[in-house]
């Protein structure tokens, strides 16, 4: 092997890899640049720095409403998913015997099924279930799920639960059981052992699961599109409706805000557990 041909091959390889990295990042960078650009359209080079699109965003009642709605939904979804996810992960990793694999598969099912199918299934189901319940006399059921916050929340929990479950299961599988035995041998009962030893050690898994859950719920589209109520729209839906008809860079400002929310979530997680421990 000659040194020169070797270097050429490696150079081509690195050039290709760099191009792909650039390809992955470009649209995000472009969106951020466009949001600070004063012109209606992004040209090269940009026309000038301006915050007018942000001003327009913050003055838009519908965008602000959907931003708060999305944040609220993502937060509640995260709390619910983490609670359920921790419990299920504990059971499948620690206690399940015969049905462990089937249980894992069942919890992961929403991840394996296309999100759009699940959304459609829920759309039909809410409609039919309410009719069925009304037919047998449960009128109070009507309106509980269809086009409601609860209905949307359930959809979000279904989709995010597998991520939380995977993250926490991984930290439980890596967990050294002898740490718990050591605590027991030192006189701690099962509850104290869980609170003082197990929970602090699997905390990074729970936090990275929560982070994922929050980001996914905040960005979730298909479920929100089909299950949204009248007058309530999440930020991605609002943005979708906007960019379908209008290319005005207000959308870029919205997108940048949504990127910033993600970055804040990442930074918070980094502060709490360190980014290295985040499992993707």
């Amino acid at each position: 092997m000659t040194g020169r041909s070797f270097d050429l091959g490696r150079g081509l390889f690195l050039a290709l890899v760099t191009l792909v990295y650039a390809f992955l990042l470009t649209p995000l960078v472009i969106v951020v640049i466009a949001s600070f650009n004063s012109g209606e359209y992004l040209t090269f080079p940009p026309e000038g720095f301006s915050l007018r699109w942000y001003e327009k965003f913050f003055n838009s009642q519908s965008f602000m409403n959907s931003l708060w709605f999305s944040l609220k939904l993502a937060l509640i979804c995260t709390v619910v998913s983490c609670l359920l996810g921790t419990m299920v992960a504990l059971y499948t990793v620690r206690f399940a015997t015969r049905w462990r694999e089937q249980l894992r598969l069942f919890v992961l099912m929403p991840l394996l099924l296309p999100e759009i199918l699940t959304a459609i299934a829920l759309l039909f189901f809410y409609y039919n279930a309410e009719d069925v319940m009304a037919a047998v006399g449960f009128e109070g059921f009507r309106g509980l799920f269809r086009n409601s916050f609860i209905g949307l929340l359930i959809g979000h929990v279904l989709v995010t639960l597998p991520f939380v479950f995977l993250s926490i299961s991984a930290s439980l599988y890596n967990f050294d059981r002898s740490l718990e035995e050591a605590a027991r041998s030192l006189g701690a009962d099962r509850y104290t052992t869980f609170r003082r030893i197990t929970l602090p050690i699997i905390k990074p898994g729970i936090i990275s699961g929560a982070l994922f859950c929050f980001i996914i719920s905040f960005d979730l589209f298909n479920i929100s599109l089909l299950l949204k109520g009248i007058g309530i729209a999440t930020l991605p839906i609002q943005l979708f409706d906007y960019v379908r008809w209008d290319f005005d860079p207000t959308a870029a400002a919205v997108s940048t805000i949504s990127i910033i929310v993600t970055v804040i979530a990442l930074v918070v997680a980094q502060r709490l557990v360190g980014l290295r421990s985040l499992r993707f």
């Binding site: 002898s178 041998s185 701690a188 602090p200």
Partner: protein, 355 residues
């Protein structure tokens, strides 16, 4: 402090018998090692004592009180795990304080006890470090300190030296033994390393396939093994098949073997005609260039291989019936491969194992 008695302990995992009717009485202050190859049931026995496994049958008593139905946390044991199991999110002091906290020891007393134990294990200045900031040997001593700071009834150690490098392992043997003697705590030590068991133990329990083969002091185990398995697991050994011819008095038996007539010591009683194996440790063989010095247990052999090991010469000898014997010679002995050589072994340094 505590006498530990195990009666008829049996542990099955499904159809697999991990421990079969084990009986063992451990005296106060005694250091007992459970020795055997991996899978022999020694760790299972230890975990039954600790309460992490529920025995299928049998009783375990501390000072006469049956503790089989007690939860691990209520048994007042100190346990050192093979991987140390130090809590990674706690400092050394917090690790040591955990057990005391569970016992609701007042903070002031907690502090002084931790200080005292840290000094004992020579980790005085490292109390505020996290486990990952310590070397393997230091982590090992923290694990030990955490187990003894609670002044447990029984100290249980599960291969605590297995993860250390050879030199440190050697040092820690003496360290643990000295510490145990100072504290005077009843100790059960699980290991597959015969050297560790020999150095540290008052008595050794040798186990194979869930069954106890022998319980005895290190010298008993080495010089007077009960079974061939014990003899070959501990130290190097040669076995010479033989048949009992008669008894000479003073515990000596006359034997007939492929190497001719031999004499060996044995404390049990054997019938004439019984088949036995004569255990001959390599260091018991005396190589005599000339054949002088009497002819009890004297056989001639051919030197086939020799290896210089520094403090000794390891030799492989071919004897009359074609079998090979391992022997040791002083390193200054001038031996040539192929030369014919006389080997003599004193009857007092051999032992018989009935077949």
């Amino acid at each position: 402090m505590t006498r530990l008695a195990i009666e008829g302990l049996t542990k099955k995992f499904g159809d697999v018998v991990a421990v079969q009717t084990l009986d063992l009485a451990i005296d106060d202050h005694e250091f007992i090692s459970l020795l055997g190859p991996s899978g022999c049931g020694k760790t299972t026995t230890l975990r039954c004592i600790a309460g992490f496994e529920q025995p299928s049958a049998g009783r375990i008593t501390f000072d006469g009180t049956d503790i089989v139905d007690r939860l691990p946390e209520d048994r007042n044991i100190g346990m050192v795990f093979q991987n140390y199991a130090l809590f990674p999110h706690m400092t050394v002091r917090e690790n040591l304080g955990f057990g005391l906290e569970m016992r609701k020891t007042p903070a002031a007393e907690r502090r002084s006890r931790i200080d005292r134990v840290l000094a004992t294990v020579q980790l005085g200045g490292l109390g505020d470090r996290y486990p990952r900031q310590l070397s393997g040997g230091q982590q090992q001593r923290v694990a030990l300190a955490r187990a003894i700071v609670i002044e447990p009834a029984i100290l249980l150690l599960d291969e605590p030296l297995a993860n250390l490098d050879a030199k440190l392992r050697e040092e820690m043997r003496f360290f643990i033994r000295t510490l145990q003697q100072e504290v005077g705590i009843t100790t059960v030590y699980v290991t597959h390393d015969q050297g560790e068991a020999m150095v540290m133990s008052d008595r050794i329990v040798v186990m194979f396939d869930g069954a106890v083969h022998q319980i005895g002091a290190p010298t008993d185990i080495y010089d007077r093994p009960a079974t061939r398995a014990v003899a070959s697991f501990i130290g190097q050994s040669n076995f010479i098949a033989a048949e009992v011819r008669g008894r000479d008095g003073d515990g000596l038996y006359r034997l007939e073997s492929g190497l001719g007539a031999l004499t060996s010591r044995f404390s049990g009683s054997l019938e004439a005609g019984q088949k036995v194996e004569l255990l001959l440790r390599p260091e018991a063989i005396e190589l005599t260039g000339d054949g002088a010095g009497g002819n009890v247990n004297l056989v001639t052999a051919e030197l086939r291989e020799r290896y210089f090991l520094g403090n000794t010469l390891a030799c492989r000898l071919k004897v009359a019936d074609g079998s090979m014997l391992a022997a040791q010679a002083p390193p200054w002995l001038d031996l040539d491969v192929g030369q014919s050589i006389g080997c003599r072994f004193a009857p007092e340094r051999t032992w018989l194992i009935p077949r």
